[in-house]
Symmetry: C2
Subunit: 324 residues, 2 copies
DNA sequence: CTGAAAGCGCTTACAG
DNA sequence: CTGAAAGCGCTTACAG
């Protein structure tokens, strides 16, 4: 690899100072058109590309945003939510000329946010987007305490920008759909009670039943992992207890339940979230709430970098895909 | 936010020069134990954390590895391969104290590798891991031309480090399994003929049939998108043509086929790749080759950063999960 | 073992 | 409009 061409080389070739080269590179005003052309020519000739690190040091701007994905064991990466929102974030970030520094965080370990901490302390990133919110989210607290620009996807307790769906309302409406279909004994199966989103959905479930005056108690509420397998396993319990309907927080769980019911030749009405391929191709119809992962990601970036100065959060519409 | 503490502050507090502070921070030898302690104390007191950008500028080392994911329309991100290998890469990279700069590349656009190009030219990254190999992969060619340390997952034509499965052998063995189960008329359904991996698997399919002297011609070879839907659609054609077995390159396709056959009450033997949840929970058994995405990711990092200086590539074992 | 100095490659007041 | 100079916060020969 030959030596990289620097601003100095360009300046020399164009017969100007490095200040001037810097100005044309960063598209500053106050550059005479003919000098600009001279410099541009030298840039083209040399293939000059400014050194990112040097610029970052001088400007204190890294143009890099950390995106944090929790990988607690109960939070399944199998869910396409992550890759979908990630892609949307990437696309949007590109428009702002920013890059993604990807971090899988160990929400369950004591050195919880050590990774995030060191990224921030060492000035490697300018901002962060966190893809989930835990019930007592230490990382978010830390983020807030540092003052680094942050957007979380979910509903944080802290005073921090966020984008979210109205999960309670969405689950309420989804549950009401089950009721409208004749549901009398309805179970709730949640993925991970450590996540705020799960609790919000449970809340919506309760609200719908309360409103319709349909009986339920805590024994109707189940918490399992975010996996097909856990849905599959819980299904036998649901069958034993003669539920006619079930509201799930995630397609993986819902699919496992559908699979098992189908094997047993039993019927059940299912609603769920994320509208993934699984709900679409389930052996027993699964109506599923589309949370619009791409929009969530896109909006997160807008909130972080956009012009909407006073906007504190953004709520993304959900959309139930009915199947029966 | 208060001003960040710099090396100068620590030096002043400890009563030493910044050179000395730098030495203890980077764990250099040749530091007197008592000075080291003095400095360490000052570091602890101030909470000093070296500035990443400044260090990177001085050392010309960014400790950042770009990971490139192609997002050509035919390459489904729904496949958990991406998130699985990504996570493994992240874990392994952490051991080397490196971070991931995530790039979704637009393999289908003319400014194909512009993103990658600018990352390299601007010295923002030290190396790259690319998660797939296209048939005539311009990005890989470019990477090689720059001399930047690179590892690709797949089988590249260029002289570049790579980690891969023996896809031809794996598909050959999988197809032989179909034959052993009595398969006489076997179709091949591939996901994306632009990917080398798909062609390698087709090759294995052909080898197995040739060896067993089972008839096939080009009309037995289908290429569809990497989606459940495309599998679902192709299924009718397979049914019309009375195939008794099918070898697919991806679980998404295989699942779609299984779904449709099941609806029609038809039988077919299916083998596939990736051993995802879909193959596990398919209505018609799908035997699936586990390519070990995590291992692929892990090894990619080892190849890039490990001690094995002379190693040019690494082949990861596959493992067929038989289901019937 | 330790420090002064140069250097990494930019940006940006400041002066003209 | 343009340039000389200082500065961003480190690292690392070099000298002692």
């Amino acid at each position: 690899m030959k030596r990289k061409v620097t601003i100095r080389d360009v300046a020399y070739l164009a017969g100007v100072s490095i200040s001037t080269v810097s100005r044309v590179v960063s598209n500053k005003v106050n550059v005479n058109e003919s000098t600009r052309q001279k410099v541009q020519k030298a840039i083209d000739q040399t293939g000059y590309e400014p050194n990112y690190t040097a610029r970052a040091l001088a400007t204190k701007n890294t143009d890099t945003i950390a995106v944090i994905i929790d990988r607690s064991p109960t939070l399944s990466l199998g869910n396409s939510f992550f890759i979908d929102s990630l892609e949307a974030i990437s696309t949007k970030l590109n428009e702002y000329k920013k890059d993604i520094l990807l971090v899988f965080s160990e929400a369950n370990y004591s050195d919880e946010h050590s990774k995030v901490k060191s990224l921030i302390q060492s000035n490697k990133i300018d901002g962060v987007i966190k893809l989930s919110v835990q019930r007592n989210d230490e990382t978010i607290k830390y983020l807030v305490s540092t003052g680094i620009p942050t957007v979380v996807i979910g509903r944080p307790n802290e005073d921090v920008l966020y984008v979210n769906n109205d999960n309670t309302l969405a689950m309420k409406e989804a549950t009401e759909y089950l009721i409208s279909q004749g549901g009398k004994k309805i179970a709730f199966v949640g993925g991970n009670s450590k996540l705020v989103v799960t609790l919000d959905r449970e809340q919506g479930f309760r609200e719908a039943l309360d409103k319709a005056d349909i009986y339920y108690d805590d024994s109707y509420i189940y918490y399992e992992g975010f996996t097909i397998d856990s849905g599959y396993k819980i299904a036998d319990t649901l069958i034993e207890n003669n539920f006619d309907s079930v509201a799930c927080t995630d397609d993986l769980i819902a699919y496992g339940i559908a699979k098992r019911y189908n094997e047993k030749g039993k019927k059940i009405k299912i609603i769920s979230f994320n509208n993934t391929l699984l709900s679409e191709f389930s052996p027993i119809p699964i109506s599923s709430v589309d949370i619009d992962a791409k929009k969530l990601g896109k909006e997160a970036v807008e909130l972080l970098l956009g012009e909407n100065n006073n906007k504190k959060h953004s709520i993304i519409d959900t959309n139930i895909i009915f199947r029966s």
